[in-house]
């Protein structure tokens, strides 16, 4: 502008760095605890160390988000999931860079992870308007009754994402729940949280209703018992092998609990993650009876 840029002595432009915050109720708050931690995979980056109170706030937000999200038609939910895929695609490079920054994996592998996430999103986008065709039924009974069974979302589901792949693993758990009409509170990868937290930005620009997706970062060991014992969380979908302590705490409110014991490679295996039995435990089958008479 004034020729200063031409001056060789001008120092390089300091870039504007992103603060990675939580995503709760459609907003990006810092943790109420004021704590942060440096994730194992991301030297020099501080992210929120979410607290029990953050989780409780997120569940309140999710309960509100559930009302909106579950009240949409399947067609509308499908369109929004497709919009998520569009937004992921356009942010592919940025997300890949965030995966690279956190995971120290190669650029190509990171791009492949984002692409697999986009593809998975497209697959699930086609599910919400077919849930009842696939999981519901009209039932033949021994009498003059019209009887049919529909599926409805279980409610607010807690998710604990795998350490890696940090973005694809998170999406593999969250997407079936959203397709089923549930609201989600997810704890992103503890050691590699950047891409998972950036997914909040994707949600915020994709017409996902506020509260339908909530993302926390923090220590798995600190927060997973809180997920398990929170009485307004209706179900848990957790990456890893079955965990007795989580299951015991969850029993007090008869939560639906599933574990996804997948290896790193499994998460990009369509045969493992594009499955109706990832949504089945988190929808409730409701059977309606009515007499047939005149």
């Amino acid at each position: 502008m004034n020729g200063a840029g031409m001056n060789d002595a001008t120092p390089p432009r300091p870039d504007v760095r992103k603060t990675y915050k939580l995503y709760v109720g459609g907003k990006f708050p810092r943790t109420e605890s004021g704590r942060s931690y440096e994730p194992a995979g991301c030297a020099g980056v501080q992210v929120c160390r979410g607290s029990r109170k953050d989780l409780r706030d997120a569940v309140v937000a999710a309960r509100k988000g559930l009302e909106d999200w579950s009240g949409r038609t399947g067609y509308n939910r499908g369109q929004i999931l497709y919009r998520l895929a569009e937004m992921l695609e356009t942010r592919k490079d940025a997300l890949a860079a965030e995966i690279v920054a956190a995971s120290r994996i190669g650029d190509e592998a990171a791009v492949r992870e984002v692409e697999a996430s986009v593809d998975l999103c497209c697959w699930w986008a086609g599910v919400p308007d077919k849930l009842n065709a696939l999981l519901g039924s009209q039932n033949d009974v021994n009498g003059p009754f019209f009887v049919f069974s529909t599926v409805e979302p279980t409610g607010v589901i807690g998710v604990i994402a795998p350490e890696s792949p940090s973005l694809l693993g998170l999406l593999a758990l969250v997407l079936p729940l959203l397709a089923g009409g549930n609201a989600v509170v997810a704890l992103v990868s503890e050691g590699r949280p950047l891409a998972g937290l950036a997914f909040g930005e994707v949600c915020a620009s994709s017409d996902v209703p506020a509260g339908a997706v909530n993302l926390l970062s923090g220590l798995r060991s600190e927060l997973s018992p809180q997920f398990a014992s929170h009485r307004d969380v209706d179900g848990l979908l957790i990456a890893g092998a079955p965990d007795a302590a989580i299951g015991q705490a969850a029993a007090d409110s008869v939560k639906r609990v599933r574990f996804a014991p997948l290896s790193q490679a499994d998460w990009s295996d369509g045969a493992r993650v594009r499955r109706l039995d990832w949504v089945e435990p988190f929808v409730e089958c409701k059977t309606l009876w009515h007499p047939v008479a005149w």
Partner: protein, 504 residues
């Protein structure tokens, strides 16, 4: 507002009560029992044969209508459970490898013979459990047979039920069933498990073991391979030993929410399958436009069927204000005409309470309801001197926080509340930790669908109540449990999809 309306009503001439005088007395119509012999002692059924419990201990099972002992039954302990699980494990490879069509054939045989012996099972069920013969004859036994027949047809069509997914049996299944529908619950649990190629250890309820044991005679006659079904009788400790046994791959439980939670806790982290069908406190919502006499009959059927010993009983009536007074009056007259007494009499509507313990529980809760300020209305019917009895009852003047409104009574006791708007009805109906069933009575189709979509319950009966069918999935939302029984959805509880999620 309400008081004002009541004043208006009180100026109207009193509605005459229905009276049939003395001309409509029912003559006794007892079902014959002489053709149903009951052995003085029952052993455990393990590996296709009867065997004594290792402890040598037995406990009596009595007829709740007369308090007379019917037989004594083996008290299985952990050693017996261990033997039964071993027998089921030994039978698993051959049974699961059997051509599916052959598995189906055994289930068809069981269904057919059960119908052949239907009256015998109905009499036995009524004597052991106290339910009216009309119900065991017309509901329990035919439905039990239908469950075997229905699932027989699934056995060789599993690849159609789980399109696109490879399924295999879960393995050895431990099943614990309650005392309210002893034979029917055995059928609900056994039929889908066997159809999917599993082997089973079944633990019947302590107070009602006889029909499940007699079912074993049918298994033998049907030449069901030994060990495919094993029955271990006993008390709560027997059931606890079964669900905690390391050799069991999956547990299916029907019973109280408290016990269900303890089982879920015990199985946490094991990766074993679990389905729970637990308690309920169903709302029965009656709108002002409902066909009122039909609704009265539905509400009566909803709460007094099987003495109210029904997890999905319509135990909370929510009636819209404009018709509340009329509805309560009609109910008051109607319960006077419920025939309470000898369960073996074919005219009996309400039989005996299943056990002394259950009667004490009902009495205690009803006493609490009165203490908390509820108005108790009971039939003036005479109750037999011997046996366990409770008259048809309902509470008015109760609110959402009262014990009788919140807790499952599991007896012939209804609570009545009112509402003004559909939103209020939904709010009140869902204000419970349970979510098993609900009822809606209205003439408006659109309102039924609007209400049904909002009620958090696994089964919603509209202008009807307490209907069951093996083709119709049944099971709860929230703390009423998870998993479904019946229909295509019910098969998922007994088939393992390779590569799927793991339950915890």
């Amino acid at each position: 507002m309400t008081q004002h309306r009541e004043r208006e009503k009180s100026t109207a001439p009193p509605r005459p009560a229905l009276s049939f005088g003395q001309k409509w007395r029912y003559a006794p119509a007892p079902e014959a029992t002489d053709f149903v012999a009951i052995a003085p002692r029952h052993e455990l059924f393990i590996a296709g044969d009867w065997s004594a419990p290792r402890s040598g201990r037995y406990f009596p099972t009595i007829e709740p209508a007369t308090e007379t002992p019917l037989s004594e039954v083996a008290l299985g302990d952990e050693h017996d459970v261990d033997r039964a699980v071993a027998a089921a494990r030994a039978a698993l490879p051959a049974w699961s490898a059997l051509p599916a069509e052959h598995r189906a054939r055994y289930l068809y045989r069981i269904a057919r013979v059960l119908l052949e012996r239907a009256r015998e099972f109905a009499v036995l069920e009524t004597r052991d459990g106290g339910k009216p013969i009309r119900e065991s004859r017309d509901v329990d036994v035919p439905l039990a047979a239908q469950h075997f027949f229905h699932h027989a047809g699934w056995a060789d069509k599993l690849e159609l039920a789980f399109a696109g997914r490879a399924v295999q049996p879960v393995g050895v299944v431990g099943q614990v069933i309650p005392w309210n529908f002893p034979l029917l619950m055995a059928a609900w649990k056994l039929a889908p498990a066997l159809a999917c190629g599993n082997t089973v250890v079944l633990k019947p309820a302590e107070t009602t073991p006889l029909t499940a044991l007699r079912l074993c005679e049918i298994f033998r006659d049907a030449e069901l391979p030994p060990g495919v079904v094993n029955v271990v009788t006993g008390d709560g400790s027997t059931g606890a030993a079964l669900v905690r046994h390391l050799g069991v791959d999956k547990v299916a439980f029907t019973g109280s929410t408290a016990v269900g939670k303890s089982i879920q806790t015990a199985l946490a982290g094991s990766g074993k399958g679990l389905t729970l069908e637990l308690g309920g406190k169903a709302a029965h919502v009656v709108f002002e436009d409902a066909a009122i006499d039909g609704a009265v009959e539905g509400v009566v059927r909803g709460i007094f069927f099987n003495q109210g010993h029904v997890c999905c009983a319509g135990s909370r009536l929510l009636v819209q204000e404009p018709i509340a007074e009329l509805f309560v009056e009609k109910l008051r007259h109607r319960i006077e005409r419920i025939r309470v007494g000898d369960p073996l009499d074919k005219n009996t509507d309400l039989g005996a309470i299943n056990s002394k313990e259950q009667l004490a529980r009902i009495t205690a809760l009803v006493t609490r309801g009165v203490d908390e300020g509820g108005t108790l209305v009971q039939s003036s019917c005479a109750l037999p001197n011997k046996g366990f009895w409770f008259p048809p009852s309902f509470f008015t003047g109760v609110s959402q926080t009262d014990s009788v409104v919140r807790e499952e009574i599991f007896g012939p006791v209804l609570t009545i509340q009112t509402f003004r708007t559909p939103d209020e009805a939904v709010e009140k109906a869902n204000n419970t930790s349970y979510g098993l069933s609900a009822g809606i009575w209205t003439d408006k189709g659109a309102r039924i669908l609007w209400m049904a979509a909002r009620l958090k319950a696994g089964v919603v009966w509209n202008n009807t109540f307490n209907r069951f069918d093996p083709g119709a999935p049944f099971g709860g939302f929230k703390e009423s449990g998870f998993g479904r029984e019946g229909g295509r959805q019910g098969l998922a509880a007994y088939a393992k999809c390779t590569g799927g999620l793991v339950q915890g």
